[in-house]
Amino acid sequence: MTKPIASPSTRAFAREKGVDLTVLAAALGQDSISVSDFERNLTGGGAPAPSADTSFWDVDHTLYGPVVTEKMSRFAMIAAKNLTAAQQLIPAVTHHDRADMGEIEEFRKSLKAEALNRGIKLTGLAFQTKALARALQDFPRFNASLSADGESLHIKNYYNIGIAVDTPHGLMVPVVRNVERKGLWQIASEIGDLASRAQARKIRPEEMGGASMTITNLGGIGGTAFTPIVNPPELAILGLTRTEVTPVWNGTEFIPKQMAPLDLSYDHRVINGAEAARFLSHFAGLLADPHKLLL
């Protein structure tokens, strides 16, 4: 699709309405666009409407009580646009599983003194990051991106894990690079560094993007499950909520186990449900027996 001819005022109008002129021209079968084409299109000229009708929520809230209005930041508006596009364009499914974190927790406890010495917070997230890179090595089709035209799959030979960080100015996703080559101390220290710099808004653009998959961890806050939105061009996102001691039936009795809930939202165009179940179960297995990470 080539860019249609449109005057500067038409281009400004399109920006204001959030309309992609290339898409509109293709929909109308025209190589040039004027403002009157929008009206035709908006009133049902055959092409898809550029945005949903939201007039029903354009209400005067002050009728019901006092209201303070604050402007959405540019940062938040860009994120909103990207999230809406991801939600609209990707047929995503969320698969849920649980991982036994008992061994990792024991191991972490045994390293407490050393962690203090090194000045590194060795979190469960560091293990989960390492295990996710390993799971991606074992399931290469999850470490891929679908081309924008949907005609090819780019399978990646690197294992970079995005870590979603909640900051006062919005969500940021810095990326730990080449996780497969790094030890747990280094991964833990990099996650700590990226997270604290994200809080201070000192993440460089080159430190974001290019992830194999993103982890969004609400474990420190709470919750039992959620359905994260895939962060394109990645194919899946792993959500984590709070690890809790849960009774698990071992065939004869209930054993108290530290179980971490796992929520994997994935792009169903590329990954089918059985694959996702196998992937997440394999990932849970790596966490349950972290010795496997050495193999």
Partner: protein, 460 residues
């Protein structure tokens, strides 16, 4: 975080990009602080660039035209140039414009702070040691003349700023760098009586401009007494008490002496002057700061406009970017969505171009054709004493849409605007040809060039 000194919207640099951003933001209701180290507003453009050079070029043109009138039977005495008075006139013009900016700032309640601002974090900065917090910031700190390494420190080696100070009229003037700035200085000083030699590393002066037009310009400069050495590199400059000796290699290999050398080899972005690192913004090796088409940097509340964002380093690009940055920061959906930035070389004759040249189209493998109308066939040009000139249009052979235009001749910079609008509107050769142009005007030449391609021209 809000400190005692707080700026809702702060602009670093009061050049064309900076003051456009500041004034637009103020018009949109923001409390604006405009910081600049100069005593006057307007940046390089007003103080030591576009405007003062145009004043001197006007003087040069009058001198030249008066001389040329002898051919018309009107003889003027040789002009007596009082450099101090000319300098003062130029300063008055600059003063009127910078003073006007002060009024425009006052009218909008923009706070002007004289000083240098540097970031101390993504929402804090220092102005000459004093801490400020801010909400949105625009970096508009421009560019500086490139100084070639290894050249001696000498009062007789000028940059464009020094050249505009009219310290003296050197007998022999060497201009290193045949871009727009160098050619304009050649025009001024040759009219004032200097013997000018232009040395250009590339294969033509005004690199990037349409070759046919450059040929006309080179011939005109030669007839004005300028020597042009292309494909030539200045290897060394040796300063002696008597003069400066330039040693060159390339198409001209050898030595020659000059009383003054003007260095006009380009400008480099001033991105390293703002402490960008502290705000988490990367400055590229060449000093530029990357922005998207909303002029946003990697920090959501910090924008950059003008020369500091790279080329083309032109005031009118900066003002457009400045407005975009202000509007985006105020929640509007503005963007810099054009790459049609007109270039004007205010020489005699003037040369102006925008969009594709035939050279660029060939290099990029873009399907194109071109048509041209020589000004030797323009009644208005001949009747106004104009010499050789050309209007050339590059167009798409399939759609007839205009892809680029170059004009050389009197007022070429003014005439170009029609072509830029035509390109923005997606106009075709037929659109131009069927638009009635007044006769006799120089503007007719665009219609004639279009008609020539369409086979409907009757004026040639």
């Amino acid at each position: 975080m809000t400190l005692e000194n707080h700026a809702d919207f702060i602009v670093f640099g009061a050049g064309p990009g900076g003051y456009a951003a500041a004034f637009r933001a103020a018009d949109l209701g923001r409390d604006v602080v405009l910081v600049d180290p100069r005593a006057t507003l307007g940046g390089v453009c007003l103080n030591e660039g576009c405007i003062p050079s145009k004043a001197l070029l006007h003087a040069a043109e009058v001198i030249r035209e008066a001389r040329e009138m002898s051919d018309w039977g009107i003889k003027f005495a040789k002009p007596k140039v009082n450099l101090d008075a000319l300098q003062a006139k130029k300063e008055r013009i600059v003063g009127t414009l910078t003073g006007g900016l002060v009024q425009l700032a006052k009218k909008r309640k923009v706070t002007v702070v004289k000083g240098t601002a540097t970031f101390n974090g993504p929402d804090i900065l220092k102005i000459d040691g004093e801490d400020w917090s801010f909400k949105d910031a625009v970096i508009a700190v421009g560019s500086s003349s490139i100084k070639l390494p290894g050249w001696p420190e000498d009062d007789r080696i000028w940059d464009s700023t020094a050249a505009l100070e009219l310290r003296e009229i050197p007998k022999n003037l060497a201009i290193v760098g045949g871009g727009i700035i160098g050619l304009e200085m050649a025009t001024v000083y040759s009219a004032l009586g200097s013997e000018v030699t232009i040395i250009e590393l590339g294969d033509q002066i005004a690199p990037g401009a349409e070759t046919d037009a450059v040929r006309i310009l080179a011939n005109a400069l030669k007839s004005q007494g300028c020597k042009i050495l292309t494909d030539t590199r200045v290897e060394t400059i040796k300063a002696t008490k008597a003069s400066l000796t330039l040693t060159c290699t390339g198409a001209f290999a050898g030595k020659f002496t000059a009383d003054v050398v003007i260095q006009s080899v380009g400008r480099s972005a001033n991105g390293n002057l703002v402490g960008a690192d502290a705000a988490g913004i990367t400055v590229q090796k060449n000093g530029t700061i990357d922005v998207d088409n909303c002029c946003a940097t990697s920090q959501p509340n910090i924008y950059a406009v003008g020369d500091v964002t790279g080329g083309p380093m032109l005031a009118h690009r900066a003002t457009h970017q400045g407005k975009v940055a202000a509007e985006v920061a105020c929640g509007h959906s503005a963007a810099m969505d054009t790459d049609l930035i007109p270039s004007v070389c205010y020489t005699n004759p003037e040369m102006a171009w925008a969009g594709l040249t035939t050279g660029r189209a060939k290099a990029d493998g873009i399907s194109h054709k071109s048509t041209a109308f020589p000004w030797a066939a323009s009644g208005r040009n001949l009747a106004s004493g104009g010499g050789d000139g050309l209007t050339k249009i590059v167009y798409c052979p399939e759609t007839e849409r205009i892809l680029g235009a170059t004009l050389i001749g009197a007022n070429a910079g003014e005439l170009l605007a029609e072509m830029v609008l035509a390109m923005e509107m997606g106009a075709t050769l037929t659109d131009i040809a069927l638009t009635v142009h007044a006769h006799p005007t120089l503007s007719e030449t665009t219609a004639f060039a279009a008609e020539r391609a369409l086979g409907t021209l009757t004026d040639m």
